[in-house]
Every structure is written in structure tokens, then in C-alpha cells.
């Protein structure tokens, strides 16, 4: 008798739980991921890279035994604050539009005497690429909370925007994919991951405004160059190369589209 009662209690509880679950399930996956990110944001290990980057910025290194404090990121020599939200931009000394990583590469070569081509050819996460990761985290963090406003005054900058736009919609490869296949419409996702629509401003701290970021799954800090590498890998494209014009042009396109979005970089990602 008491046994039956207990069973009924279990059944009632079970039914209750069955009805309660769909209510919990109404929270979208995106909410769940955001909650997860918020929980982790307080102890974002990207801070470790920021600290390392700041030390590397000031440290005398390389064959020339020089620091990067004379490196001009667009706001004058040695000014890191506010530089990130205005990159990529045109630099008169190199005669090229450069993003943060290609610009740092130029500084590593001209100021410190490193071989930029050798660093660009180094696989991610090894050797001097580790230096770049840290520097990227430091420089991006100096612009945290500021809003993107890429300069478009120079003809080269406008040209790169157009090149970036065409590359974004360029379909090729074994899957006949383009960036726009995934990032050209609202409401698209890969498995559980919502994809930002990068043909317009996706909002504060989304898309272009969220990178560089610490990836929890790999325990690494990824800059925009490495992020784009992964996009190309997923499309089964050959990788255009570290700091290549293709990646910079895409950076200009995404950056200009993100105008007014606040940067949260370096952020934290799954």
C-alpha cells in the first residue's frame, strides 16, 4: 500500500518534471551560451595575454634590441589606446592598408629587426606568433568599450573595402561556399552556434567587435588572422596567408560594417 503511494508520488513528480522541462527549454541556446560566457567573463584568461603583451610592448627585443614603444598603430608612435577600433587603415610608411596584426608585423621588422616573412610563415601558436598573440590582446584591450570607426578617407581604404566586399560574396571551393553563405543573413547557425550577419552592424561585441578572443575549447588566444584562417578552413579554401591582403580586405569590410559597435575584445569564446 505504502509502496503504491510512493509510486504515485514518483509518477506525479515525474509528470511535473516533464511539464516543467519544456518551460526551461524555452530559454534559447543563444541565451545559454551567453550565460556561460558571462560566468566565464569574470576570469577571462585573455587577461594573462594582455599582461604578457603589455610587457612585450615595453621590452627591448629582437636583433635591434628595441621596444615597440615607437610603433605607430595609426594614433602616433607608441599610442595603443583607441588604435584598435580604427584598424585596418592606410599607413603612409608602408603604403598599404594594414590590420592590427600586419601592422605589428611591420613594427617587429622595422623596429626590432625580426624577419616579418618568417614570422608570417610560422604556424599559429609557435615562436614569434605567440608574441603577436599577446601583443594583439594588449592593443585590443586598450580600446575596450570604444566604438569602431574605421577611416575611409584614403582611396586605398575605399579600394580595400570594395575588395573585401567582393571577397565576402565570392563563392568557390569544393562546397561552393562564400563568407556570405553563413554570415549574410540573420538567424543562421552552425549546430548550436548563432552566426552574426556581417553584411551589416551585428551589434556591440558581436562578430568583428569580439575578436581577438580566448577560446576555452583550445585554451588559446586567437586574433582576427587566426579566426579568418578557421573560416577559410571550414570553407575548404586554401588559407590566403598570415597578414595577407585578402584577410586585411575582409577586415576592412567587416570593420566598416561594424561602425558604431563597441569592442569587447579580447573576449571569451567557447
Amino acid at each position: 500500500m505504502s509502496c503504491g503511494l510512493a509510486w504515485r508520488a514518483v509518477l506525479a513528480f515525474g509528470l511535473g518534471a516533464a511539464f516543467a522541462l519544456p518551460v526551461l527549454g524555452q530559454k534559447s541556446t543563444a541565451d545559454g551560451i551567453n550565460q556561460y560566457r558571462a560566468l566565464l567573463a569574470d576570469g577571462n584568461p585573455a587577461e594573462l595575454w594582455e599582461a604578457k603583451g603589455e610587457a612585450l610592448w615595453k621590452q627591448k627585443r629582437g636583433p635591434n634590441n628595441a621596444s615597440l614603444e615607437a610603433c605607430d598603430l595609426g594614433k602616433g608612435p607608441g599610442v595603443a589606446k583607441g588604435a584598435f577600433v580604427e584598424l585596418p587603415r592606410f599607413f603612409a610608411d608602408t603604403g598599404k592598408v594594414q590590420d592590427l596584426e600586419s601592422r605589428l608585423l611591420s613594427c617587429l621588422q622595422t623596429l626590432q629587426g625580426f624577419d616579418a616573412a618568417a614570422i608570417a610563415a610560422t604556424p599559429f601558436g609557435r615562436g614569434e606568433q605567440l608574441t603577436l598573440e599577446a601583443l594583439v590582446a594588449f592593443v585590443a584591450a586598450e580600446s575596450r568599450g570604444l566604438r569602431f570607426k574605421l577611416p575611409q578617407g584614403h582611396a586605398e581604404e575605399r579600394k580595400m573595402l570594395e575588395v573585401g566586399r567582393r571577397l565576402f560574396f565570392f563563392r568557390a571551393g569544393p562546397y561552393d561556399f562564400s563568407c556570405a553563405s553563413c554570415h549574410g543573413e540573420d538567424g543562421k547557425r552552425i549546430r548550436l552556434q548563432d552566426l552574426p550577419n556581417l553584411t551589416k552592424n551585428p551589434g556591440d561585441g558581436i562578430g568583428f567587435a569580439a575578436w581577438p578572443a580566448y577560446r576555452v575549447s583550445s585554451g588559446e588566444l586567437w586574433g582576427m588572422q587566426r579566426r579568418l584562417n578557421d573560416c577559410f578552413r571550414q570553407q575548404r579554401f586554401p588559407y590566403p596567408g598570415y597578414a595577407s591582403e585578402v584577410t586585411v580586405a575582409l577586415g576592412v569590410y567587416m570593420g566598416v560594417k561594424s561602425e558604431g559597435a563597441a569592442s569587447i575584445a579580447p573576449s571569451i569564446k567557447r
Binding site: 569574470d42 576570469g43 587577461e47 594573462l48 604578457k52
Partner: protein, 103 residues
């Protein structure tokens, strides 16, 4: 040489909340590299927190702790201006100590 920790200590109520971010690989010893060879275990084994030089917490850590670990705890009775130091020892015998003043 190991990278510095990031430590924040803020007064909250009658104590201080301490947040620590450590830079460590935390290899479990179960992973294999590209060549198929086992990557040897290498992780933090002990964490010690001290308030003005007096140990207030010790923790034994193992392979279940994440890479670049984050830890948070409350130290009762800590006041603004007190010194909190965190030390870790890893399985290779490496040690690191960083200190912060409670804000």
C-alpha cells in the same frame, strides 16, 4: 619561466574577495601529441594563499583543473591595505608567488 598571475582582491563585507587567474598548461598526462607520444602530466599540485604572510588557505590540485585556471575565494577579516599572496607549486617542482594589496 612561468608567467605572472593576475590577482584581484577587493573588500566585500567583513572580508575580501580574491580572484586569481593563473597561467599554466595543466597537462593531464592523458593526451597524445601529433606523433602519438604521450604528453607527460604537468599541472599545479598545490596552491597556498596567505594574508600578510600567514597561510589562510591551502589547496591540493590535480589533473581535473582547467588550463589557465581561475579561482575565487573569500578571506574573512582582510582589510584594505592588507597583502594577499598566492603561491603555486607544480608537478615539475616549479614554483611561483605573486602578491597583491587588498583594495
Amino acid at each position: 619561466m612561468s608567467d605572472p598571475m593576475r590577482i584581484r582582491a577587493q573588500v566585500q563585507g567583513s572580508g575580501a574577495v580574491v580572484r586569481v587567474l593563473m597561467s599554466h598548461e595543466m597537462e593531464t598526462g592523458l593526451r597524445k601529441d601529433a606523433a602519438g607520444a604521450t604528453v607527460p602530466a604537468w599541472h599545479i599540485t598545490e596552491v597556498v594563499a596567505a594574508l600578510n604572510g600567514k597561510t589562510v588557505m591551502t589547496a591540493q590540485w590535480g589533473t581535473a583543473i582547467a588550463k589557465n585556471p581561475f579561482t575565487q575565494f573569500t578571506v574573512k577579516g582582510a582589510k584594505s591595505g592588507d597583502k594577499i599572496s598566492i603561491s603555486w607549486t607544480d608537478s615539475r617542482g616549479d614554483k611561483r608567488t605573486d602578491e597583491v594589496v587588498v583594495a
